[in-house]
């Protein structure tokens, strides 16, 4: 009998807690839905320690078809167009190409527009304080890494429209390394004309992803002995890099939120000590191990990149 009363009280408190305010996860799910369903026209900037990049971001839903346009406004530019499940990248250096996927890879981690439950393993979802961002009331949601090998990701979500207003990569010391801030957003009942124009254009055929066998490290030339928890291998191959035509053994890892790449290449001539470079949250770690060079690139802390690079050994 006592147990039964306890159970009732317990479940009652759960209900009360749930009704008080939406949980961090619920807010993120609402955001993912809003980003796919609303018609909006937004401008945002990505700020690193030095320099910033301005973007324009349009999204619309027209006759059940999603239309999205993201463009980098400075320099040579970069234009990414999405019509439903086809994302096309227009880059100045190369011919446009399409990928079969339902979200654009831009400055905002894609997983936030999708099913965030894949992040449960590596991150805690924490509700933060309220504030005012871009003239709107905002609620902070923090994705806190469960270990110190990754950065945290903080998001400020519009409490009215559930749209993203601000986001930042934050290191373990609580410093904001790379921030994304909306400067303007307007939500309209109909998609913008610029988006409807996309319907009359044709885009390159989407690349088929080879999904025959999952990549493994077993047969590869190199053994990567240490990896941060939660990261899995997505791709392993050998190919030439676009810019300088150098051959590299290539590995791509992801934990669902961020990715990093490992390149193993022939060493460059001359004495070059190993070291890290960083721009915003992106780290480039170059490790010179004598017979070969290992480079790690990704939005991970320099210390993590260093450990990965140094753990690469020739497979025997």
């Amino acid at each position: 009998m006592k147990q039964f009363i306890f159970f009732i009280i317990f479940s009652f408190t759960l209900v009360v807690q749930a009704s008080e305010s939406p949980s961090a996860k619920q807010l993120l799910q609402n955001m993912a839905t809003a980003v796919h369903q609303r018609n909006f026209d937004a401008s945002f900037v990505v700020m690193k320690e030095k320099g910033m990049e301005p973007y324009r971001w349009l999204h619309g839903l027209h006759n059940g078809q999603e239309l999205e346009l993201l463009s980098l406004l400075n320099g040579a530019g970069l234009e990414i167009v999405r019509v439903d499940n086809k994302v096309t990248y227009f880059e100045p250096q190369s011919a446009p190409y399409s990928i079969q996927t339902n979200s654009i890879t831009g400055p905002i981690p894609e997983v936030l527009f999708k099913d965030i439950s894949v992040l449960n393993k590596g991150y805690d979802f924490v509700l933060g304080g309220k504030g005012r961002i871009a003239g709107r009331p905002a609620q902070l949601v923090r994705l806190e890494s469960k270990d110190s090998n990754k950065y945290n990701y903080w998001l400020w979500i519009d409490t009215d429209s559930s749209l993203l207003l601000k986001a930042a990569y934050v290191n373990q010391a609580g410093e904001l390394l790379e921030q994304l801030q909306l400067t303007h957003i307007s939500v309209s009942p109909e998609p913008g004309e610029q988006l409807l124009e996309l319907l009359s254009k044709s885009f390159p055929e989407a690349r088929k992803l080879e999904n025959n066998t999952p990549p493994t490290l077993n047969n590869s030339n190199w053994q990567i002995e240490w990896l941060p928890d939660g990261f899995t291998l997505l791709k392993a191959d050998r190919h030439k890099l676009d810019l300088n035509n150098e051959l590299a053994d290539y590995y791509l890892f992801s934990d669902g939120l961020v990715e990093f790449s490992v390149f193993v290449q022939r060493p460059l001539a001359g004495k070059r000590p190993s070291g890290a470079l960083s721009s915003g949250a992106t780290t480039v770690y170059v490790h010179n191990s004598g017979a070969f060079d290992v480079s790690v690139v990704g939005k991970i802390p320099p210390q993590t990149a260093k450990s990965i690079a140094e753990s690469v050994k020739r497979a025997l």
Binding site: K48, E49, K50, G51, G75, A76, G77, E79, Y89, F90, P92, Q93, P96, I99, S103, T105, K114, V118, E175, K201, F203, P204, L209, N211, P214, T232, L234, K235, L241, D242, L243, N244, A248, Y250, L252, S254, G256, E259, F260, S261, F263, Q265, L268, G270, R272, P273, S274, G275, A276, L277, S278, S279, T282, V284, V286, S295, V297, G298, P302, K306
Partner: protein, 201 residues
Amino acid sequence: MTQANKAENKQTSTSEIFDGEFALTDATLSQLDDEKFSRYAMIGDAMRAKAGGDITIDITASITAALADEPCHDVKGIEEAKTNPKNSNVVSISNWKKPFSQIAIAASVALVAVLGVNTMQQSPVVSDDLPVLQSIPVAGGVAPVSFSSEGTALQSAQQGVRALQQQRIGALVLEHQRQSRMAQALHEVKSEQEQESKDPN
């Protein structure tokens, strides 16, 4: 004013009233021509360059009347003609992008340059046990020549290595960016496969 002018009497008096040469009495006002008066006023304003948006000529009635008789234009045809050049798909987009390609290569170099400079700025942030490429050829490129006490031959050799390594880092960053675009799709494929391999058991 003479007898001979009597026929133009009304016009003259309107003009005179307007110029203030005629005392305003009931008698003179009855001679005033309303339409002419407002026209004179407008001419005066225009000559004094007061015009701007002040002049209002109500022609809506006449336009409406004129429009009623106009044949309907083929609106569809006009719109098609307008959109046709844009309509031409991918090729036109890449053509439109072409002028930028020169800047693009410069931009990728700039990215590396920014990376290099950032390292210098950032060095205090990174923990002590982690070597930072500050004094190193990679970050190099930015280091003033006078900093080095080495011989010039060694210097130019190092600069060659620097250029190569800078180029390589630029290529790595770009490659990572490109490969990341595939990551989410690959991740989904992989988790689907894992699901499938679990399900039969």
